[in-house]
């Protein structure tokens, strides 16, 4: 019996303006706990927009997102922030580390903000996370002393800090060389294998192939869903 970690119901995100624009146009999606989902699609198809909605960074115009069965559309901005802090981990194409802080302090930031552990426990966990990502000896370096791949791994460690149910990553390897890309993907794969849910946006078909499911988006709609083996699970070509 698989547990649904993240569910989107008829999700719509519209930008109202002089020219209104629909970024996400009615997406239904359920991601199981421990599943690794890759979102692919052409540039401008609404992948990032969908990811921001799934990570509660953005609020949908219509529809509902349920995290571990809990609906989120009625939450206030502060409550959404609290959910992000403890349930969602973000990794972006750009690392977004605080430049003045060391790797360790950056990883400690979400834990300190949540304030649920003692300083000693937090440090222990932070060092363990960095160690497991091969950054043991870089704990006290600042972002500008690290390579791009190392920074991205620190960002992943930060996303994992509060043991979130869901990790969402938007082209996390978009700016990395092949070796680092491989490394980051193995890490994300491991995270999913250890039971956390991972949703990744990527352009790289080889990497998408390593996901449990691939969701292809075109014009803000799901065009195709394929399983790990390449078999087509669902097909609902755009109307």
């Amino acid at each position: 019996m698989t547990e649904v970690a993240l569910q989107a119901v008829e999700l719509v995100r519209r930008i109202e303006g002089v020219v209104s624009h629909t970024l996400v146009n009615g997406i239904d999606l359920a991601v199981n706990k421990g599943e690794f989902v890759a979102i692919t699609g052409p540039s401008g198809s609404g992948k990032s927009s969908l990811l921001y909605l799934l990570g509660l960074l953005d609020a949908p115009s219509e529809g509902e997102i349920m995290i571990c069965g809990q609906p989120t559309s009625k939450l206030s901005e502060t409550e959404r922030a609290d959910v992000r802090l403890t349930k969602c981990g973000f990794v972006f194409q750009f690392h977004f580390l605080l430049p003045e802080f060391t790797s360790l302090d950056n990883v400690l930031l979400p834990m300190r903000a949540a304030g649920r552990m003692t300083e000693g426990e937090m440090r222990e966990r932070g060092l363990a996370l960095l160690g497991s990502l091969g950054l043991g000896e870089h704990a006290n370096k600042r972002p500008n002393q690290l390579s791009g791949g190392q920074r991205q791994r620190v960002a992943i460690a930060r996303a994992l800090a509060n043991r979130p149910e869901i990790i969402v990553a938007d082209e996390p390897t978009g700016a990395l060389d092949t070796a680092s890309t491989e490394q980051v993907f193995s890490i994300l794969r491991d995270i999913a294998d250890q039971g956390q849910t991972v949703v990744v946006v990527t352009h790289d078909p080889a990497l998408a192939a390593r996901a449990d499911r691939r969701i292809h988006i075109v014009d803000g709609k799901i065009a195709e869903i394929t399983g790990r083996d390449g078999g087509e699970l669902v097909c609902e070509m755009g109307s």
Partner: protein, 412 residues
């Protein structure tokens, strides 16, 4: 909170020069405000003290505030009488001894009689109009500081010299007289009296020292041509600040016009009010402008840290927590600035207290009086801190309102 403080600290410590400018701004504002407050209140308190020391706290004159209605006025509404009072003779206070003993029984202080008239003092061709106050030296010591203001001679010397008078130092200088000299007093009725300068006093109030002389009550009565008259009672209270209240009670009891020192100096006191208002406005403006540099710094930081703000919000830090980072930054700048401002303020006050200055009110050169009060420091610091917090709040609110998605989209 520690996290917010840490982040705030990294922001300000990365901008040492800007931060120091911000702190200097706050320090200047606070320092000069403390200085102004100390100077202003110092001079004011000094002046009031001289006033209260020198003047009787209440004077009861032989006048009524309103002239009693005349029979003709009561009969005919249109008739109004003017200039009824006999200008030549002062009526005097009726039964002064019994009035005094009755007042003495309840007022919280002392009362003494005096005879007040005007005269011209003539010495070697110099003629100066003066106020002559006849006193009773034994009772005078209870109602005025005259005894302690004597520079030469004593109050008792009045009864030793023939028609003895006490002259203010400033007046003596103008006339060129010394203790022991004889001067001519000319009264309103043309009465002339040769009198001896029995002593010199200095009250510190210029207008008193230049135009006031004292004699025995009898001498003043002779000058008026009215023996036995007492036309003024002077009261000294234990609490000078209660003078207005007591004056009203005295007036109600005796029917005579009783003037508190506050009423007598209402014009001076009202200029104080105006001055207070001006100075307070300037101090407020100084404190406000002293936080402008802080506003500038916080605006710059919030602008430069847009991305960090977005990422902190996206990680799940609440908006007000992120906002607080910048308020903490300005508080850091403010607190350090205020500490330096306190030191600066104290040094400025101390510096001023070493400066002597000619005081036109007293006509003397004295060190500037500085009033040191912890209240000045607390209030200047408190207002400055509020200004700094305000200076941070608005740019911080604007910057932290931003939607993280907008920044993240723009950056990647």
């Amino acid at each position: 909170m520690k996290l917010l403080f840490n982040i705030a600290w990294t922001h300000v410590s990365a901008r040492v020069r800007q931060t120091l400018v911000g702190m200097a701004g706050v320090a200047m504002g606070v320092g000069f405000t403390i200085m102004m407050a100390g100077l202003m209140q110092g001079s004011q308190i000094d002046f009031l003290r001289q006033l209260v020391d020198t003047m009787p706290h209440i004077t009861v004159d032989d006048e009524r505030r309103s002239v009693p209605t005349q029979p003709a006025e009561r009969e005919y509404a249109a008739v109004q009488m003017a200039e009824i009072a006999n200008v030549g003779k002062r009526p005097g206070i009726k039964y002064p001894e019994s009035v005094m003993s009755s007042l003495g029984s309840w007022i919280p202080g002392e009362v003494a009689p005096s005879v007040k008239t005007t005269a011209i003092i003539d010495h070697g061709g110099a003629r100066i109009g003066i106020t002559l106050t006849g006193i009773d030296p034994r009772r005078e010591v209870h109602v005025s500081k005259l005894a302690s203001q004597m520079r030469e001679g004593k109050l008792d010397d009045l009864s030793r010299a023939p028609n003895g008078i006490l002259v203010g130092e400033a007046l003596a200088e103008k006339l060129g007289v010394k203790t022991g000299n004889t001067v001519l007093l000319v009264g309103g009725q043309g009465i002339q009296l040769n009198s001896t300068v029995a002593g010199l006093f200095r009250s510190g109030l210029k207008r008193v020292d230049e135009s006031q002389i004292y004699s025995l009550a009898g001498t003043a009565q002779v000058m008026m041509g009215q023996s036995g008259v007492v036309n003024q009672l002077r009261l000294r209270l234990n609490d000078p600040m209660s003078a207005q209240k007591v004056a009203a009670q005295v007036e109600a009891q005796t029917g005579y016009k009783s003037v508190s020192w506050q009423e007598a100096n209402a014009d001076l006191l009202s200029t104080f009010t105006v001055r207070d208002f001006i100075v307070l406005t300037v101090m407020g403006a100084m404190l406000l402008t002293s936080s402008f540099a802080t506003y500038n710094i916080i605006s710059t930081i919030t602008h430069e840290k847009r991305q960090d703000i977005a990422i902190m919000k996206s990680l799940g830090m609440r908006e007000y927590a992120v906002r607080r980072i910048f308020i903490i930054e300005s508080i850091i700048i403010g607190v350090v600035g205020i500490l330096f401002g306190w030191i600066l303020g104290y040094l400025l006050c101390y510096g001023w207290s070493k400066i002597t200055i000619f005081n036109p009110l007293t006509g003397t050169t004295v060190p500037l009086q500085i009033y040191y009060s912890a209240m000045h420091y607390v209030v200047a610091g408190g207002i400055s801190l509020l200004c700094c917090a305000g200076a941070a709040y608005f740019p911080a609110r604007k910057a932290t309102r931003v939607h993280p998605v907008d920044i993240i989209r723009g950056a990647s």
